[in-house]
Amino acid sequence: MPDAAREPLRSIALLDEGDGAYRAPDPDGMRRFVRDEKDRRLVDKRMSEQDAVARFVHDGDYVSYDTNVWRRGPASLMREIIRQRRRSLWLAAKFSAHDATLLTAGGCVSDIDVGWMEVGRVINEAMQEGRVRLHEWTNGALAYRHLAGALGVSFLPLRYVGGTDVFRMSGAKLIEDPYTGQPICLVPAVNPDVALIHVNQCDMYGNARIFGPGLAPAETAMASRRVIVSTEEIIDPEEIRKHPGATTLPYYLVDAVVHAPFGGYPGTVPGLYRADLQHLMEFGAAQEQGTMDDYLDKWVFSVSSHTEMLERRVGLQKLHQLRAEETHTEGYYT
């Protein structure tokens, strides 16, 4: 029954707000972009990593990836971004690993929205020298901002972030909830310019399957203007239609399909190959010793592609070993 005594609501009280930097949400701009720029046809989107990055990653872009370079992350695409010397990227580091370190070492990054990330000498020095600005969020708040972006709204309410310095330094607001009258936090939607998502299987149109837990691959793809999928395996579109329940991303979200076996290397793609701990230690040592330029030269600049890196730097024997030693495969491809 309607509450006749209730006063008509004239305004919603803004109780507090953070003063952090963020890109103003623009759901209508996103809709128009989708209307005008996103292909709804079933077309072959397979292309090389060089073409995908050249076409869809630009200087100054807001870039979101899923998961991270230690586990099912788009590592080969990140190396290509470094190889093409993109600049001034703004990263969404929602439960990131050393992804931000890698891209910062490559000179590609100006801003990082932080949930959690590996921090060492590279990030520290970049901060001290003012080359990189951090913006404190939380893993969940970043995933949730992608959800808002995926819903096509400009914000969502949530019941955390408030009361902390994260709130103070973020783009969050505290309002009086118009339904309960209680204070509640709002966070702005994020619509990344480009998403990088590494998947287990994908057809040539971009219908993609992810096996195993993830961070927010579906929300990230939906929220982003452009979506580059790198995939361990290209599968027949008929295979997709036989098991529609297994599809994580439908084709129309996706702009580029890059065939990248071992695209998660040096991280793991669970069920397929394990992480190369030796490589991760090499990365750690290079960071510690201030020899990241040598590391990047070896693994990125001195090879022209992911395939060449696998052949000349990793080697078939190592690749076979990483596959053979991923002994726990239950739940992924079965």
Partner: protein
């Protein structure tokens, strides 16, 4: 107990935390580190199937022990789960009130249980020491009914003022402070566990309260390593050191690779309440 007894600060905090874990609750933990090891230890010691969710969307996994190397990048950490979902989904579950308790590690904590995992020293843009960030701790500490924090008892960790408040405790301690900040009611930090003392929080003032002290330490010893003075329970319990059974399970069954061998070694001699701390020395790799 044998005449001499040695364990590290990290091992002690894991063992004490394992004792606080209840069988029929649902926990929220980070993917690796002492909080998860505490739950695995509780499982091992009691043969109980204690359920937890992980930020990556893994629900109630049965990770095999010994734990895999590099847990954060190992598929085994998610094995035998009941569901593989995603970050938003497990945060929804926490927001709904399904998750009883978050278990988290803190770099710094203040007297109201607010904690820091962002930076220490300097300022935000030019920190002396930068850490990984709030991660999922902010949402876990906001949404779970209770939170257990693990840290070491040191003056630079139990601070009057945090260098950065990454995750909420009872904020300024005033009644309803969390609700006024938009957090769900009846939630908040429950225990802070260190290698030689366990703290709770006073229901009225929300200030940290000393509940238990190791027999080889003392209330004065504990207070001497804190920047603020906590409330003291009317009866401060004696905190038994890690037992042989706990340490054996942790070292031999769960973590033979020794990732819990962090912090300082504590060597004890004697028995029962006459336990004496004879040496404290840094453990390898710290």
């Amino acid at each position: 107990m044998t005449a001499t007894h040695a364990f590290t600060t990290t091992e002690a905090a894991i063992c004490y935390t394992a004792r606080l874990i209840e069988d029929d609750r649902l926990y929220f933990v980070a993917i690796g580190g002492p909080p998860l090891l505490a739950i695995l230890l509780a499982r091992r010691l009691r043969g109980a199937d204690i359920a937890y969710v992980v930020e990556d969307g893994t629900i109630a996994p049965r990770m095999p022990i010994p734990t895999p190397a590099f847990m954060i990048g190992a598929g085994l950490a998610s094995s035998r789960a009941v569901a593989w979902t995603d970050m938003n989904t497990v945060d929804f579950h926490a927001g709904l009130g399904y998750i009883d308790c978050g278990v988290l590690a803190a770099v710094q904590v203040d007297e109201f249980g607010n904690f820091n995992s962002t930076f220490t020293g300097g300022c935000y843009d030019r920190p002396e020491r930068r850490f990984g960030g709030p991660g999922g701790a902010n949402e876990i500490a906001s949404l779970c009914w209770r939170t257990v924090l693990l840290t070491r008892l040191e003056r630079r960790k139990f601070v009057k003022k945090l260098d950065f408040s990454s995750s909420p405790g009872y904020l300024d301690g005033t009644p309803g402070a969390r609700e006024r900040a938009g957090l769900p009611p009846e939630t908040g930090p429950w225990r802070v566990v260190t290698e030689r003392a366990i703290f709770g929080f006073d229901e009225a003032t929300r200030r940290m309260k000393l509940l238990a002290v190791a027999p080889w330490s003392s209330i004065d010893d504990v207070l001497g390593d804190m920047q603020f003075t906590p409330l003291i329970a009317e009866r401060v319990e004696s905190l038994p050191p890690p037992s042989e059974a706990e340490l054996d399970a942790l070292r031999a069954d769960i973590d033979p690779m020794g990732r819990t061998i962090g912090g300082d070694w504590i060597h004890l001699a004697g028995d029962g309440d006459s336990l004496q701390r004879i040496v404290v020395e840094p453990a390898a790799g710290t």
